[in-house]
Amino acid sequence: MHNSPATPGSTAAQTVAPAATMDHEAFNPALRHHFADAQQQKNAASLGMWLFIVTEIMFFGGMFCAYLIYRVAHFNAFAAGSQQLNIWLGAVNTAVLIVSSVTVVLAVKAAESGKRKVLVGYLVVTVLLGLTFLVIKGFEYAEKFEKHHVPGPTFNFTEKFDDNGKQIPVNPKEAELFFSLYFAMTGMHALHMIIGCGLFTGLAIMAWKGHFTSDYFTPIENGGLYWHLVDIIWIYLFPLLYLISRHT
């Protein structure tokens, strides 16, 4: 046979069970069989997570594209819609998410230095902050229901676009488009927050049970990447949705 892999030991391999020859690191419960070593496994997981983040960027990107084009097309309606959003709740929620990102990064650091209780603490705080965000979001949604700003048959938009004191009436259909995108984007974001809270609850339980060591905390790291991504999406949603033509 030609160019068999340059391993003179291939005959020797016959004396050992194939699976056993493959695992270089003798004992590491977290190491999956098909990786050569823990480093390779960790690198793979990290790259996988980053690629997943890219898919998320493109996923939201479709909605950002729709938003951008309609904002250009129906600026007045979008500004009028934006002026009906509660900027304070939006800003507070931004702050909540930023603080949660800090607790996440502190959690990763705690995991890295093997401090189990600190880690669990930060994870729990993160989940609580995430829930705070969702509760505030819930209040905002409730307000939209009351004002009939939820797209659909009950939608009613009579507010005008206040442009430096000039009251410009807008086409309710276009305002509905703004609120459609508002609910699609924040709704999809909230869904990611809910998933994130579930994920972090799971991580907190695993951390409490001592699944993670200073050598192995990849799930914490990757969960953290996910959380930061959701944070970044909100960092863009806040100015794009809440801050259109606020200077009245």
Partner: protein, 329 residues
């Protein structure tokens, strides 16, 4: 060209011969390329078939050769691009003297309104030698107005106008197809383009009495109450519409737009979208109040207010309107 095995479509517009010429050029280039590759593969496969004791001769590649067959095809393709773009530009730039015909598409029929007032369904009569511009919109989903013999096609969208222009050359009956899938009877949404000699066309036009489109529009303009605000004296609350068509309009927010068909249409349906500088957003929206046909009549009327004498049959036929001097009611 057999009736049963058509290999080439009829040529019935000025554009058809141009498109065909480009097509033949592309066919030649593609044909030569295909022949070369097929020939090369066949010859090489036979010539270098396996022979015992003769090993393959390893060749790494050749940068010059590879750059060559990247760059040369690119320049050949550039000729396709330029030629194709030139034709496309002509197809998308209607001449100023074109006679306008309004087309409304719906599932599953074509409704056609001549500016002189003739209505047709699934048929369009046009004279040879005259530039015709179709102003098209759809009542429901996307359709596409396709005349193979003219080599022309344009999607027809709901909510806005798209246009198509042509100059027919050979009298005859040609297929009109809907080329964008639009539901159950998509394949039935066709008809005929009837190209006639100008004298026959004039006869066809004379048959049957009808009110010119702009005249209908004028009636609507007053019955809908538009004329109370859009007037040329200073008391008007809306901008004077005389002479605005196809001219730049200064908007309230500083932008400038051209008052084309789509602008006029949008301003009727959704007046607050683009407010003319110096006016208040007081006009009610007519979305859902006027039909697409009525809208066409209104647009035709607004246009007739800006048209000089030549090239406007509508105006000459409209009794109460004299060219360049819009009436004020």
């Amino acid at each position: 060209m057999s009736k049963y095995l058509p290999l080439w479509p009829d040529q019935a517009s000025t554009m058809a011969s141009q498109v065909d010429l480009l097509y033949i050029y592309l066919l030649l280039v593609a044909g030569v390329m295909t022949a070369l590759i097929f020939l090369a593969v066949t010859v090489l496969a036979i010539k270098y078939r396996r022979r015992p004791g003769v090993a393959a001769h390893q060749i790494e590649g050749s940068t010059i050769l590879e750059l060559g067959w990247s760059i040369i095809p690119f320049f050949v393709m550039l000729t396709f691009f330029i030629w194709g773009a030139v034709i496309f530009f002509q197809e998308r730039t209607p001449p100023a003297d074109a006679t306008e015909v309004y087309v409304v598409a719906k599932q599953w029929m074509w409704k056609i309104e001549h500016i002189e007032g003739q209505h047709e369904i699934n048929e369009l009569h046009v004279p040879t030698g005259q530039n015709i511009k179709l102003i098209m919109t759809s009542q429901d989903v996307i359709h596409s107005f396709y005349i193979p013999a003219f080599r022309l096609k344009q999607d027809v969208l709901p909510g806005r106008y798209t246009t198509l222009w042509f100059k027919a050359t050979v009298p005859g009956r040609y297929h009109l197809f809907c080329a964008e899938y639009c539901g159950t009877m998509h394949s039935g949404m066709g008809g005929d383009i009837v190209v006639m000699k100008p004298e026959d066309y004039a006869l066809w036009m004379a048959g049957g009495s009808s009110t010119p489109l702009a005249e209908n529009g004028r009636a609507l303009f007053s019955s809908l109450g538009c004329s109370t605000c859009h007037r040329s004296d200073v008391k008007g609350r809306g901008p004077d519409l005389a002479g605005i068509y196809d001219k730049p309009v200064q908007l309230d927010d500083g932008r400038t737009v051209i008052a084309d068909d789509n602008y006029v249409r949008e301003s009727i349906l959704d007046p607050t979208a683009k407010i003319v500088s110096g006016f208040k957003p007081v006009m009610p929206a007519f979305q859902g109040i006027v039909t697409d046909e009525q809208l066409n009549a209104l647009v035709a009327y607004v246009k007739s207010l800006s048209q000089p004498a030549q090239g406007s049959a509508a105006l000459q036929n409209a009794p109460a309107t004299s060219p360049g001097q819009p009436e004020v009611q």
